[in-house]
Point group: C2
Chain length 365, copies 2
């Protein structure tokens, strides 16, 4: 069987703790199922900065480009609040996204039935919620130039960020959203601020044209991004797939994740374009939550989002659909059994550690 | 008594219906209390476009600049979806904000006790909620240049929007936020994306420096804007005053408004700098909700946000604190009496029309 190469980038904070649980599952799959994963490890974020002054080294970047898939933990923490802008922890993640050309970020916001009571929303608003946010990830204000701070004298500075989108960038992310919708509820809602931003005007035009040309079997609607934020709070179940740009996607997917009450549980996949010859896509998988420096090192972090990210990896990078579903089912089974890490603890459940949760999931797998 | 001049710009959709209820209150105050308001009226948005091809005419713009205060209804609707970008309905509002230099947008998100059950959030999460979003309104990506769409040939276009902030712009909006906080819960949370945007880095630096120099009696915290969106959904009562830029403010204030379940009830004030001689500020007051074209002309729109906006006008433009409080109390009294417009209707209440709600509020005033 062909070797499947995965680069593990645990990062900072709780990253290493949750990654090590998934690592144990990977070993288990190699030993028991002959899965033939070959893992390597690298540094990213603050830990990479501490080791060699960059948020990711060129060597680790090369490994990421060569791997079939990258599993990413989380980056950042107060320790690195004052490092120079270009080498701040997030720069490592942004470089991975850009250099691997991971333009399509898939963020499912699902409400685990066992957790619908931990949402701040009324249970009937979130029960059974299952939406997918498709966020453009290599364009927009994250990468546009100029991106500068200029000293104007007299104590005045001017900061500039530039939002840039070209037709092809919008077309390809819209394509991903429509394809995803076909395999789900067949509805796409596109969000932008065309009433204020020229990039919103182009976004709206290109999504509309792409729909007409290739995907008119899918139901398409448009919403202003601010109204979209409102509607997510009001009645999120009206949505199936949401497609939006890099910055709006950042905001809206965080709001959507929090709605579910399952923030510590939500994975994401960042995909590149399929290779013209092999069809393989570069890909990185990471939890939606951050590095949670306040609980790092205590062994109490919730590893479920990391496992769920690995489940997306099995599906999208290795086409191991059965294994992916088995892992997702294992997570649900463990939750149904009433064990919880501290972040999702509730009355009548048993609180367990990161390691215990990892063991439980591997056992249920 | 000096004359108090108000320009009414009802706009489109339900704008004229809700404005006419407030107009009746203004007449009432002139007749009964000798308030000496002098109102004039103008066109803005689609109705201005229909009349003279611009989203606001130069003549009405001059009236706005000359008035002590502007009351604004709402703009936009499907009828004008395809008018050229520069004369779209929103352009009228944006021109008013820019030409009147209304840099400080105050958006209170309060949960009316009578309505805590109409929120999609659990009652305990929103009951008693009272936060104030202070949004920068004349800078950022709304107005930065270049703002263009360029044809690149081969069916490709490039759209650019530019986020620009200078030190003085951040300083003055931070000042407003700290002043407001002193009169409330004494806490400010500043939100930006300094991990991705240079304008976020400058924003953070300037807010921090302003705090240190003049407002260190106020408690200041910082949050990334995406995390801020999450925290608004998770536990909004942790906030007192939130200060943020134009685009993040647009998104976050809409999310905050929807949390309260009182969207049709929420007002906003947009203020300029105090005049160096007179201390007077240019100001525009408008509901947070939009023009609701689907229910326009039916006489069922909720005029409360428009009344609440006028209450802010009494306070901030005319220093009529007693009258402002009296009006706010009248709104609460009417709600307590159990009458509702359709948008906030619930079991056991009596549904009434726009006009009936207007009458009830004027009577309770
Ligand atoms: C860490 C940060 C740079 C990142 C982003 O803004 O994209 C994060 O918020 C995310 O959503 O993945
Ligand atoms: C109508 C539109 C231009 C406006 C904005 O984006 O500022 C609105 O959403 C608001 O929040 O006042």
């Amino acid at each position: 069987m062909t070797e499947r190469s995965i680069l593990l980038l645990p990062g900072d904070g709780i990253g290493p703790e949750i990654m090590s649980e998934v690592k144990a599952l990977i070993s288990h799959m190699n030993e028991k199922d002959g899965a033939n994963f070959k893992t390597d490890e690298g540094l990213v974020g603050g830990s990479a900065y501490d080791a060699h002054g960059q948020a990711i080294s060129d060597g680790d970047m090369e490994k990421a480009l060569a791997a079939d898939a990258v599993l990413f933990g989380a980056v950042g923490g107060p320790k690195w609040d004052d490092v120079p802008y270009d080498v701040r922890p997030e720069a490592g993640l942004l470089r991975l996204r850009k250099d691997m050309a991971l333009f399509a970020n898939l963020r499912p916001a699902i409400c685990y039935p066992a957790l619908s009571n931990s949402s701040s929303l009324r249970p009937e608003v979130v029960e059974g919620l299952d939406i997918l946010i498709v966020r453009e990830l290599t364009g927009g204000v994250y990468f546009g130039e100029p991106k500068t701070i200029t000293d104007l004298g007299n104590g005045q500075k001017r900061a500039i960020d530039t939002q840039v989108y070209e037709t092809y960038e919008i077309e390809r992310i819209a394509g991903v959203a429509f394809e995803m919708a076909r395999a789900r509820g067949n509805k796409v809602c596109s969000m932008e601020k065309r009433n204020v931003m020229k990039s919103g005007v182009l976004w709206n035009d290109v999504v509309t044209a792409t729909h007409k040309a290739k995907y008119d079997d899918v139901e398409l609607s448009h919403m202003l991004a601010d109204a979209g934020g409102m509607q997510l709070v009001r009645w999120p179940k009206q949505f199936d797939v949401i497609v939006t740009d890099n910055l709006f996607g950042d905001m809206l997917s965080d709001v959507a994740a929090m709605l579910t009450g399952s923030l510590g549980m939500l994975p994401s996949a960042s995909l590149g374009a399929p290779d013209e010859k092999t069809g393989a896509r570069k890909a990185l998988y990471e939890p939606v939550h951050g590095s949670a420096p306040d609980i790092a090192g205590k062994g109490i972090a919730n590893p479920i989002a990391m496992f769920a990210s690995f489940a997306m990896c099995l599906r999208y990078s290795f086409n191991m659909i059965a294994e992916s579903e088995r892992l997702e089912k294992a997570i649900a089974t463990v939750l149904d059994s009433g064990v919880r890490t501290g972040d999702i603890m509730s009355d009548g459940c048993t609180q367990i550690t990161t390691t215990q949760m990892g063991e439980a999931i591997r056992k249920a797998y």
